[in-house]
Amino acid sequence: MTRTKLIALFVAIVGSLLYFYNYFNPPETWQDHNKKALSAFHDSRYAEAEKHFVQALELIEAFPPNDPRFVFILYQLAEIYRIQSKFVEAEKMLKQILSVEEKKLGFNHPNVALGLNNLAGNYRERGRYEEAETLLKQALKILEDTLGKESSLVGNILEHYAHLLHKMGRHIEAGKLESRYQAIYSSLSKDNQ
């Protein structure tokens, strides 16, 4: 048997065996883990959902950081951590999202404002009110500059801010914000009618 024949036989046999091994035992992709995690999440099996989201994140880390799939998984993980009251881990995810969005979209983008709002929510739940307030002020400014003072998202941030101020005992300031966001909501509902 010639050397070429031996090489060809080796390629044919080993290559085909490896192909069929992979075909019947396919390596799990990030989509597989994401699907399993979402299913576990819907069934309230949070620990399992967390495990699959972490595995999906490990696979997706090979993607460029500005890839929307990367941010999507980070958001899912942050939410899972929040539900399980793992606020420190959730904070890490939210900070990572914020950094990606700032790099991708710039500092004055509504998505960045929403990221700041999410992080503020995390701080509020942990009693870090001052830090939360700073973030909400930043988010409010971005949204007012980009979408206008009467936008529904501005109303949402004002509502969160008012809620935070109540927690901090600053009820008069909170009341002012409440009347402001209520005015926004009522004008929006009139527009929709």
Partner: protein, 477 residues
């Protein structure tokens, strides 16, 4: 339609095109039909080559992180795509086909003239295209099957023909390595460009894909034509030689006798022969090289034997009617060659292919550009009828030409209008037929059978014509 029937239909769409081209290539060898065992073996070797290359491509895809590339704006998109297309896919696939061809077919004694490279290379390409098509079409559906029917399948088949051309020349040349490397480089370049266009998924990539496929088909047909001339010279050359090997023969050998002895294993390409006239000693490799093509002009043209009607019907049916393109080309080539007509059969067949496929492509582009969500049935039907009209017009001109020749030799040749009109109606019906109607596959098959039946009338008369021509030539000789 139940799941089993759907799988069967998809399998039919996946397997048909590869087999159609394989049949066309196999039947292009007119003088020395290759052993069917080796031909089938080559086809299956091509199919087998899919598995190792797919494994390798998967590994390359992972290493290069191809999944992470979303569009051409992703970092390192172009370097990674080009590298993957050329080295991860094109080189892997063509090298594997090359390796299998070289290891299991190249040294076989049935590979006894350069033209055989076209047959075996083409078979490897068709086998690869068929198995790959099954892997794509079964999970992804009919739409993918139809796109691949006019892109990847002819691409693989004709890249195989081009590779086979160089293999054939390499086997009968003193510069074996040079031809082998040339062959591999040419097909890897073509295939790599095709894959770069396919993977980049940009606006221009569709145009580039079609351009490369047309170039591949054109080069493949040109290569085939060149080696066909060489095969004709080997068949009819009057030159005679004495072999130096073994007992000195008293009767000198023609080139076709040498080809026969090669296939019996009594001679090998390295054996030397003595030219009866000049006394020069040359190896069979040197004699069978493409240099002898220059003798082609002076050779008599042998008429063709035609094709059994039953076989034609089977091919036509089994290939979903795709055999029409090859039949159209084969007929033009037979008449052009025999009657020394100034026609370009490849260009005409390519014209038929382009004009019956491109309207659908442009229609799709217009729909996408105008963002048309709902399909307008009136426009759809008009387009299908227009394409049926174009197809019939091409056939009309071909049949008119045949009719002129057939009238001189046959008492009652077919009438062109009588054949063309039903062909137009059947082609139109076949194209307009909605896949949603009950028993769609049955109606589609029935229409293909009827269309094949009408074309079989022409094939029958062509067979009679070639028979008469053969008898006349035998009387003259």
């Amino acid at each position: 339609m139940n799941e089993g029937m759907e799988t069967l239909r998809l399998l039919y769409v996946a397997v048909g095109p590869g087999i159609a081209i394989a049949v066309f290539i196999y039947h292009s060898n007119k003088f020395d039909r290759e052993p069917s065992k080796l031909v089938i073996k080559s086809f299956f070797l091509g199919g087998l080559a899919v598995f190792p290359t797919y494994y390798f491509e998967g590994v390359a895809e992972q290493i290069l992180g191809m999944q992470a590339l979303q569009n051409e704006h992703s970092p390192l998109f172009w370097p990674k795509t080009i590298f993957y297309a050329f080295f991860g896919v094109a080189l892997a696939e063509e090298l594997c086909k090359f390796l299998f061809l070289k290891a299991f077919v190249f040294d076989d004694r049935a590979f006894n003239e350069p033209f055989d490279g076209i047959i075996y290379g083409g078979m490897i390409g068709c086998g690869f295209a068929t198995v790959e098509n099954i892997l794509y079409v079964l999970p992804q559906g009919q739409a993918v099957g139809i796109i691949r029917m006019i892109t990847a399948v002819p691409g693989h088949a004709f890249f195989g023909v081009i590779l086979g051309y160089f293999m054939g020349r390499a086997k009968f040349s003193i510069n074996r390595a040079r031809h082998l490397i040339h062959g591999l480089v040419v097909v890897v370049m073509l295939h790599g460009l095709y894959d770069t266009a396919a993977f980049s998924n940009t606006i221009w990539s569709v145009y580039l894909i079609f351009a490369i496929i047309f170039l591949g088909i054109y080069l493949g047909l040109k290569a085939k034509r060149e080696l066909e001339k060489l095969a004709t010279v080997i068949e009819f050359s009057a030159k005679q030689y004495f072999p130096l090997k073994g007992r000195r023969k008293k009767v000198p050998l023609h080139l076709r006798d040498i080809r026969c002895l090669l296939s019996k294993g009594k001679l090998v390409p390295e054996d030397n022969l003595v030219d009866k006239k000049s006394g020069k000693i040359k190896s069979i490799r040197e004699i069978f090289s493409s240099k002898i093509i220059s003798q082609y002009r002076g050779l008599p043209k042998a008429p063709f034997s035609g094709m059994p009607v039953k076989l034609f019907l089977i091919f036509y049916q089994a290939t979903f009617g795709l055999y029409l393109y090859f039949w159209f080309l084969g007929n033009y080539r037979d008449f052009t060659s025999y009657k020394k007509l100034k026609l370009n059969p490849e260009l005409l067949a390519l014209g038929l292919f382009v004009f019956t496929v491109l309207p659908y492509f442009f229609y799709g582009v217009i729909q996408r550009t105008l963002n048309v969500q709902e399909v307008n049935q009136g426009v759809d039907i008009s387009l299908n009828l227009a394409v049926a009209g174009i197809e019939t017009a091409f056939l009309y001109f071909q049949f008119q030409m045949f009719s002129g020749f057939l009238k001189k030799k046959l008492a009652k040749p077919f009438s062109v209008p009588v054949v063309i009109l039903p062909l137009f109606i059947l082609s139109g019906l076949k194209k307009v037929l909605a896949p949603t109607i009950p028993f769609y596959i049955f109606w589609e098959m029935a229409l293909i059978l009827l269309q094949g039946g009408v074309l079989a009338i022409v094939q029958r008369d062509l067979n009679l014509y070639w028979k008469v021509e053969n008898e006349r030539d035998q009387r003259i000789n």
